[in-house]
Symmetry: C2
Subunit: 325 residues, 2 copies
DNA sequence: TCGACCGGATTAAACGTTTAACCAGCGTGC
DNA sequence: GCACGCTGGTTAAACGTTTAATCCGGTCGA
């Protein structure tokens, strides 16, 4: 199959390539009939315009960049997939640039993408870093940046909702588990949970794993804690296996819950209760904001997308005699 | 900062843009002195050739595609990262195309990439599918395809090594856990394990989760099995939590091990023993094969990349009185 | 002394698309 | 009857590179 160009089609119809271009784009003045026939023929032979040629002429590549800075973010694949889907729907291709490591690597990755001609960039930044503005439109997921280009799940609301559910189950002494204080996402989730618990007069203690690498969770349970809420299913899993290994029954003696509904969360026993975020909605939001900016329009006002509770087996009513073995 | 082109530099030196191009590429005939000065100036102002212009002229975009067909593959992020790094080192950009779903979606993703001008494509295919040849060079990871373009970890050897280690620990009655029979990777791993065990005269039983969604692992332990080897850490985790929940001590009463060293594998308690693959080496191999083919050379002969055992806490000597509670 | 050759650069074409500017008819209003 | 405007196109330039073909002045060999 030979390579098809506008010229090829133009010759078939005995018209100029400009006319074919106009017919396909619907922009210039072409008779309705001819336009229809040209479009039909183009579809028939599967004509697709050459991206480089178009890019050269228009200055736009039809490609957006995706910077995934934090490899340890277990949502990575889902973000990649969701952004890819949203981009495809908007006619964009997705160039990735992983920037494991420091903030320097992150900005280097951004530069690579602009040099390759990305029309805009979606960034899932390394936790705790701000993304500096650069010469292409940006959409930042889950991190503070210049206002108007950040898309977030409602981590605080999700935290509050999760806490509310545990309160409803009768829990009054809970442990909150976070990993890194410098993660905005984790701070928001902890904050939401802590606020809801405080408002209800429940007792809550927060543990940051960066301070205490291997806390003795079973001991906390024996001291009276009846529920462990972690900012990520990964840490919820750590708690769960530690409790089980110590012979504590989950959820009979203690409840465990996390965030993000990771791959393993439904596979463990008991299956983890988790607060999930709608990754696809976030990605769509990011892409909407981005393509608006690429087109020169103002970005639509964004709202935090709600999280949803997935209640499985790892949570249950608070035990009558907390912590008793 | 204005946009820099060859012309800009050419004018500064009072020469033609062709000369600048030659100087930078080292191809035509330019006096050594002038060439040096031009290169210096180009570096100084950070000149980078326009990818679309170059692509239009040369017919090569400098971009490779990456098709990640199986989202459920937890190695996804590591492959993305490794391929990105290898591509960057070779001067390529990476366009992704996720194709969750069936084989049709997979080929659709491939088409999208060729249409966008990918010079070659790396595929991590959906399990059990063959990748059909198309008009651009392909490198397939972990799946059968036309000979010469498949890069694999040594799954069979890894399986054998893992089994050998458990044999050395004294285990003689083991359970092998796989998920899908149509996955080549899983078949290879199971095959390697089973062969090694059979050769040593140990008893091995294989369970495919697609047949029995929720097998009673604790019961198997009570019947005498002292070790559970799963084709993925994900399933090893399922086994581990099921055993723990049933009050069985790991590894005192039963050992558990998996493959791929997933994110959570070190975080659970006891930490999972696992057979890890060198994702970076595989990615480099894939990229070497791919760029060779793009350049028109024959692909270098590939060898399966060895896997390495990461021994952690979930495996130990076989209990003296197997299965006894 | 003249043709050949060679180093060092220039010219020009080409890649495929988009788009502003132009042009030929043709019907219309006045 | 003529300027005007509309319709349906065409021409040509431009985007930035690469590369084959060409050109020019000097040097060398014969």
């Amino acid at each position: 199959m030979r390579e098809m160009t506008l010229q090829t089609i133009a010759e078939e119809f005995g018209v100029s390539s400009a006319t074919v271009s106009n017919a396909l784009s619907g922009k210039g003045r072409v008779s309705a009939d001819l336009a229809r026939r040209i479009r039909a023929r183009a579809a028939e032979i599967g004509y697709a315009p050459s991206p480089p040629a178009r890019a050269l002429r228009t200055g736009r590549t039809g490609v957006i960049g995706l910077v995934l800075a934090d490899l340890s973010n277990p949502l990575f694949p889902r973000y990649a997939r969701a952004v890819d889907a949203a981009a495809e729907a908007a006619g964009y291709g997705v160039l990735i640039a992983d920037s494991h490591g420091d903030v320097g690597a992150q900005t280097a990755a951004l530069q690579r993408l602009v040099r390759r001609g990305a029309d805009g960039i979606v960034v899932v930044p390394r936790r705790g870093t701000r993304v500096l503005e650069l010469e292409v439109p940006l959409a930042v997921i889950d991190a503070p940046s210049t206002p108007g280009n950040t898309i977030c799940a409602d981590h605080r609301g999700g935290g509050a909702a999760l806490a509310a559910r545990l309160l409803a189950l009768g829990h009054r002494s809970l442990v909150l588990v976070g990993a890194n204080r410098d993660s905005n996402v984790q701070r928001e989730r902890i904050g939401g949970m802590a606020a809801a618990l405080a408002a209800a007069g429940a007792q809550a203690r927060t543990i940051w794993l960066e301070d205490a690498p291997a806390p003795d969770f079973p001991a906390l349970a024996r001291e009276g804690a009846t529920a462990f809420l972690a900012t990520s299913d990964l840490h919820a899993l750590t708690v769960l296996t530690a409790l089980q290994r110590a012979g504590l029954a989950v959820p009979a003696q203690a409840s465990v819950a996390g965030f993000d509904d990771l791959a393993f969360s439904a596979a463990v026993s008991p299956a983890l209760t988790t607060m999930a975020q709608d990754v696809d909605a976030v990605a769509r939001g990011a892409l909407a904001a981005l393509s608006a900016r690429i087109a020169g329009r103002a970005a639509p006002p964004e709202a935090a997308v709600a999280m949803t509770l997935i209640e499985r087996e790892s949570t249950g009513p608070a035990p009558a005699t907390p912590g008793n073995l």
